[in-house]
Structure formats: structure tokens, C-alpha cells
Amino acid sequence: MSAAATTQTGARPARAGRRPSVPSWVGTVPFLAYVAVFLLWPTGIVVVDSFKNPAGGWAFANITRLGDPLVRGYFIGSFKLCVLSSLFGAVLGAILAYAIASGDPDGPMRRLYLAVSGVLAQFGGVTLAFAFLVLIGPVGLLFHAGWFYSFPWGITVIYTYFQIPLMVLVFLPAIDGVKIQWREASENLGASAWQYWRYVGGPLLMPAFLGGLLLLFANALSAFATIVAWENQIAYIVPQQISTAMTSEVGLSNVNVADLLALGMVIMVAIVMTGYALLQRRAARWLR
């Protein structure tokens, strides 16, 4: 069989006389451009603007406003809420994810709870606040719980409500990635259920769990809608503060300080996302 007679598959033209090819990454330009314009650029603007004064000049002193006790109070309040709801959401979400993953992959429970998670992770906003108002609020159908109104408890419960589904969506693939052979092998080697989780299952899932926790934390930071509808103790959440700053209803009506607060949040998020990326690398290697 003569080699010259065989043509290369792929229907490419012969090597000689080919025009210079465009590098393949060009195909990703639409996506990258879109993200750059509608995500990275606005973020960049905020970061840069936070160091400017209303007249347009540079004002790095703005950053000292972050130390302002009022501002600090807002950040701390926001922080508390986010940490609490993320912890609850992560742990409870992990438990629910495990319950889903350990059942029939094709079964009704899995489908049901995945659909529930898909929907509830998105409806964290106004609707949810309403629902809780009706359930436990002034005309509460279930009961009237006084503690619910004290920050941060009521709002934490509401946050947890949509943190759990998000954790399920994020953590479930990791649990699916745990191979059944690991469980059987450790059983065979003499491990009890507790020992399996302590030495094998736990360590393997920890990066994914922490990653989910971080993601939840970042998500809580940026959740704002719920606060507006809750109509109580709202001043203690940074996003709300930014909103008032922008609409200059009350308090700081300096647009650049709104930027600053936004910057503070971006920094928190950046730290979180870096941690997440590092954890993901480890988890992906083990649970591919």
C-alpha cells in the first residue's frame, strides 16, 4: 500500500499552499469579551473609583473611611450573618447531599430534591422573605417567634434556606465522585463506618466541602435582595448600606464611599475565591 495514496482524515487541505491558520483560542473571544465587558470591567471600575474623590482626583485617603466605626459595624454585621449562614448551610447541605447521593441514581428522591435545590437556590430574594413573614411574622400562621426579629437570627434562618440548596448543587458531584471501592476496601481492611469517615471519606471530601463553604460565604455576602424585603434591622448589612449610599436616602451620600464599601466586599470575595480555587484543584484530582 503506497503511503502517498492515503489521505489524512479531517478533510484538511494539503500542507503545501495552506494559508496561515488562526490560533484556536480566537474561538473563545466572544465569551471572554462578554465576561470582560459585563463582569470584569464593572468590577474594575468600582475598585478604581473607590480611590477617587467626587471631583475625580485621586483620594487614597478614602480607604481610611473603611476604618470608620459605623462602616466597621456594618462589615462586622455582614460578616457574622455570612459566617453563620454559610456554616449552617454547608453542614446541612452536605448532609442532604449525602442522603441524595446514597440513593438510587435514577430514583424519584434524587430528582425531586435536585429540582427543589435548583429552584430554591434562586428564589432567595423577596419571595422567601415574604414566605417567612407569613410563617413566623406578625400575622404568622405557625407561630410568632420573637427571637426571629433579633439580628442575626431571623435573617440567618432565611439565608440558610437558600444556602442549603446551593450547597447541595455544589457538593453533590464530589460525593458522587467518591468511589464505592474505597468504602469496600476499607471495610475489608477492618474499618468501621466511623473509621472510614475519619481516615478516608472525610479527608477526601474535605477540600470539596471547604470549597463549598467558601462559595456559600461569598454567595451570602452578595445576597442583598432578602434584606430589602425583610424590613427590619436592615442597616447592619453592607449591601444595603451601599444601596442607601447610592440612592442617598440616609447617611453617607458620597458615591465614592459606596464604591469603597463595594471594594471592601470585593476584597473579601477575592480572598474567598482564591481559597476556593486552591481547594478545587485538590478535590478535582482525587474525585475526578
Binding site: W182, A185, N188, G190, Q195
Partner: protein, 371 residues
Amino acid sequence: MTAAPVTRTARAAVEVRLEGLSRHYGAVVALDHLDLTLEPGELIALLGPSGCGKTTTLRLLAGLEDADTGRITVAGKDITGVSAAKRDMGMVFQAYSLFPHMTVRQNVAFGLRLRKVGTAERDQRALEMLELVGLAVQADRYPHQLSGGQQQRVALARALAIEPQVLLLDEPLSALDAKVRAQLRDEIRRIQLEVGITTLFVTHDQEEALAIADRVGVMRDGRLEQLAPPTEVYSRPATSFVAEFVGLSNRLAGEVTGGEVTVRGVTLPLVERDVPGGQVVALVRPEAVTLASDAAAESGPLTGTVIAVTFLGATSRVTVDLGDTTVLAQLPTSDAAALSAGSRVTLAIRRDPVLVSAASDPAALAAEAGL
């Protein structure tokens, strides 16, 4: 291979007895009252197509699943109700069983750690095991850095580190390359003999089973068709399923008279003595078919035309059209060298005992052929 393998004075080998084991999943019967005894120190290979129950047997023995009925006895003790973690057996899985977040050494030492063995002794023992399988150098690497064959060796070391009473291997070589498979297979056998441990080896590859087992158990539909040393399973198959599953067979029409069968003019002894006379189908091995001394004769029941010659290395397989049927002959390549498609040949059949089945019942034939 590295340093001289270290042999531990393992405990005395034990007898394993499976009695009347049954297991079904819904309507599917996976095991049907299986009886199997493993002599101390013996390696039994369970061989069969997928779904035959061989893996189920292994998992029941390991305690990873419960039998519906039956009893399992190890060294005289009934362990049927004992949980997997307490059964003191070492198991090697087909793939993926090494813990990815632990180094090779940590993997091997894991069972010892669970048994509260001290760190120094643990590490030393793990290293010994790794030397046994020839991987001491890789002790501090992670599983994903090893090849498939190396991973399975680590799995073997891990299983043996706890000095189990029984070794279980669930198709350990199926996921590996052909060359690695052959190498590792011999090594597993060597180590098993050295340690002297009673072993159950499950595979669907007959070559593997024949190569390493003391006895081979051919299974089908949850039952043992035959349990015998490899040579016997091959040359004296108990049923036509075994004959067809292990090695290749030619199905040739013949007639039984007086305790022998006549196939195409050649009289052959029978595997079973008391077969009623009449028309039968005889199963003849390709390697029993050779070239007659006057190979290019013009006519005769064993004369025909070559359809194809398949070169397999040391041997060649020749497909011959005898007019009313096709026969497969396996010849040393030197003999087949002169043949090509279209050559006229005369074959001869060696007088090995053959298995026959009644020709008059097409349904039975079809059933036996597994259709």
C-alpha cells in the same frame, strides 16, 4: 526486581468452605446453591462469562454482601453472620481501590493502623510488603503517579499486610494492558505460593485461570459446571459449555458405537464411558487437528480447501472447508507455512478423548451452546 523477597512466617493456611450459597437480586438468580471447598493454601480460579455468579461468590465470601441461604466456614468457624470488617480477609479489587489521598506506604499500612500497630512497626511491615511486590522504591508516591500494574501491586501488598487468612482477587488484571497482565499474573501466583495463603481468584479470562490456578471452577448461571485442575478442565471438559468456554472447539458430526465415536472416518475415544450409541456431535480441539502425512491427497472425508490462515506467532490457525462443514486446525507455524487460501490439504485427528452430545435434539444443542 529489587531485593530478595521477604517471607514472613505467615499463619498456617486455612480451609474455606462454602455450602449451599444462594443469592438473588429480585427475579435474577445470581447464585444457586453453590458448594465449594478451598483446601488450605490452594488457589482456586472462578471462571465464567459475566453474570455467572463468580463475583457474587467472592463478595459473599468477603462479607460485602449477604447470602440468602447457605453457610460459609473458615478454618472450621462459621462466619456467615460476621461483618466484612471482622472477617480477616485481604481483597484486591479490579480498579480504583487505592486511597488517592494517601501515599503508597500509607495505603499499605492502613490495615495495620486500624489494628493499632505502632508507627515504626507499621512502616517496617509496609516496606516489607512493598519489597515483596517489588515496589519499595515507590513508597512515598501517590497512587495517581503509578501505572495500573503498579497500583494493583500496591493493592496486593495492602491486602497481604494484615496477614489475612484468605486472599480474594476480583478480576485484578482485567483493567491492565495485555503485557502487564501476563507479568503480573505470574507474580501474583509466585507471591501466593510463597506466602502459602488460601486464595480465591475471579476472572473471565480463561488463559489467566488456566495459568495460575490449582483448580479451576467454571461457572454458569450461578452454578459450578466443573471444578478440576486446569489440565482436566481443558482436556476433559465435563459439559459442552465448559468445552466451548475454555478453548476453541470444532463441532463435528459423528456416530457412537461401542464406547467410541467415529468422526469423519477417524475413531476417537470418549471422555465419558457410557454414552448411548447413535448420532452425536463431537467437540474436537483445533490443536488435535493436524496435517495428514499425505497432506495433498485428492479426496477423503478429511480432505478439503484452505479458506484462511491466521498467523498467531508460534502457532497458526487454519480454516479448512471440507465441503459439508468447516474445520479449524491449530498448527505449528512451520507446518502451516506452505499453506495459503486455496491449497488442498488432508487433515488428521489426534486420538484425544472427546466430549459428545446427542445430535438428534437441536434444542438441547442450542441450549448447551449457550444460545
